[in-house]
């Protein structure tokens, strides 16, 4: 085995775990099927391999500088902020002058995602109540040539991550007809918590976007992962 080969393998290995992963992904427009960091990796392995710890501020700065970003937000989340974000996001979306039903679809998916960020935000507030980067949320809305995209990020526990992964995998594995059936079943059961729940939101997103939901987790610290969700919504002319 020659030296260069070994170097190359090491490089690829390190690159896989580095923060460049998402950027690499966006660099290639067509590459939407990113390989998510599997939850099966133990934190120990990651600590040994990750050169840089995930930095939400840096990550956000990189994302918002991408072309095609219409609206972006990073910060805390509460009911007033949610209102403000929705307000600004709607205005920016209308400015794109897209086909009206297409914009409505993007808007309602954005609303579901933002309201989800809000509802799960409280649960994961930092225990000491101190302001830290551990509870920042990220939201990006953009438009590529033939589709809108929405990307959100927030910190979650391992338990929540496992739940989210299984929900999304389940939804991604369903045909449109199966999605419709499951959606109606859950709606019919009427077994909801006060704040949504029962996975109706994620089902609605999958139905309306008619695309797989893309997601990944980034290790942050013990029992704290950064969960990223990306939804593409084909633009109608």
């Amino acid at each position: 085995m020659n030296f260069l080969n070994t170097l190359l393998i090491v490089y690829i290995f390190l690159d896989y775990f580095s923060d460049n992963q998402i950027l690499t992904l966006y660099g290639v427009n067509a590459c939407f099927l990113f390989n998510s960091v599997s939850l099966n990796l133990t934190p120990v392995q990651l600590d040994n391999l990750t050169l840089k710890k995930f930095d939400v501020n840096k990550h956000y700065d990189e994302l918002r500088q991408l072309d095609d970003v219409i609206f972006s937000y990073k910060g805390q989340m509460n009911v007033d902020l949610l209102d403000e974000i929705l307000e600004h996001m709607s205005e920016k979306l209308v400015d794109t002058k897209g086909q009206v039903y297409s914009l409505k679809r993007v808007h309602i998916i954005a609303v579901e995602i933002l309201q989800n960020l809000f509802h799960h935000y409280e649960t994961y507030n930092s225990p000491d109540g101190q302001e830290s980067t551990d509870n920042l949320v990220v939201f990006i809305l953009g438009k590529e040539e033939d589709a809108f995209f929405i990307q959100s990020g927030n910190f979650v526990s391992h338990d929540r991550a496992t739940f989210l992964q299984s929900k999304i995998e389940e939804v991604n594995g369903l045909s449109p007809e199966e999605l419709r059936k499951l959606y109606r079943e859950i709606l019919s059961n009427g077994n909801f918590s006060a704040h949504g729940g029962a996975g109706l939101g994620i089902l609605d997103i999958a139905r309306k976007s008619a695309q797989p939901i893309i997601y990944q987790f980034k290790e942050y610290r013990e029992d704290r992962l950064f969960f990223e969700l990306k939804v593409r919504i084909p633009a109608v002319d």
């Binding site: 609303v111 309201q115 006060a194 949504g196």
Partner: protein, 129 residues
């Protein structure tokens, strides 16, 4: 019992509940952050309407621009409540309006048709755009 009227706001629809006319109108967009709180007075009004003197015929006009999933849960609760009245022999008609090209609102109407045992009309309107 009093009529219930709520003007349309940025994220919530115009609501008119009229006992004398036996009329329930919900018009606009519905994306309240807390839909359960928002629709509670509506559900309460319907319960009272059922308990007091409901009309022989009740018409429900639903003309939504778009709505979140939290709202759809409240809608199903509202329809289920009206279903009870229907089972007692009262006439209930739901008109679900959608614009010709608005597949999402049309599809939502079909979701409710599938789940409900109520006369439920999909009413197509010309596109406003």
């Amino acid at each position: 019992m009093k009529n219930f009227i709520l003007p349309e706001k940025n994220r919530t629809p115009r609501i008119e509940l009229d006992r004398v006319k036996g009329l329930i109108n919900i018009v606009g967009r519905s994306i309240p952050e807390n839909a359960v709180d928002f629709y509670k007075p509506v559900l309460d009004w319907i319960e009272l309407y059922k308990a007091e003197k409901p009309q022989i015929e009740t018409t429900v006009n639903m003309q939504l621009d778009y709505f979140n999933t939290a709202t759809s849960k409240c809608f199903i609760q509202m329809f289920r409540s009206l279903e009870e009245l229907h089972q007692k022999g009262h006439q209930i008609v739901v008109n679900w309006y959608y614009e010709e090209e608005d597949e999402d609102i049309e599809e939502s109407g079909r979701d409710f048709i599938e789940l409900l045992n109520l006369p439920f009309n999909l009413v197509v309107m010309e596109s406003n755009y």
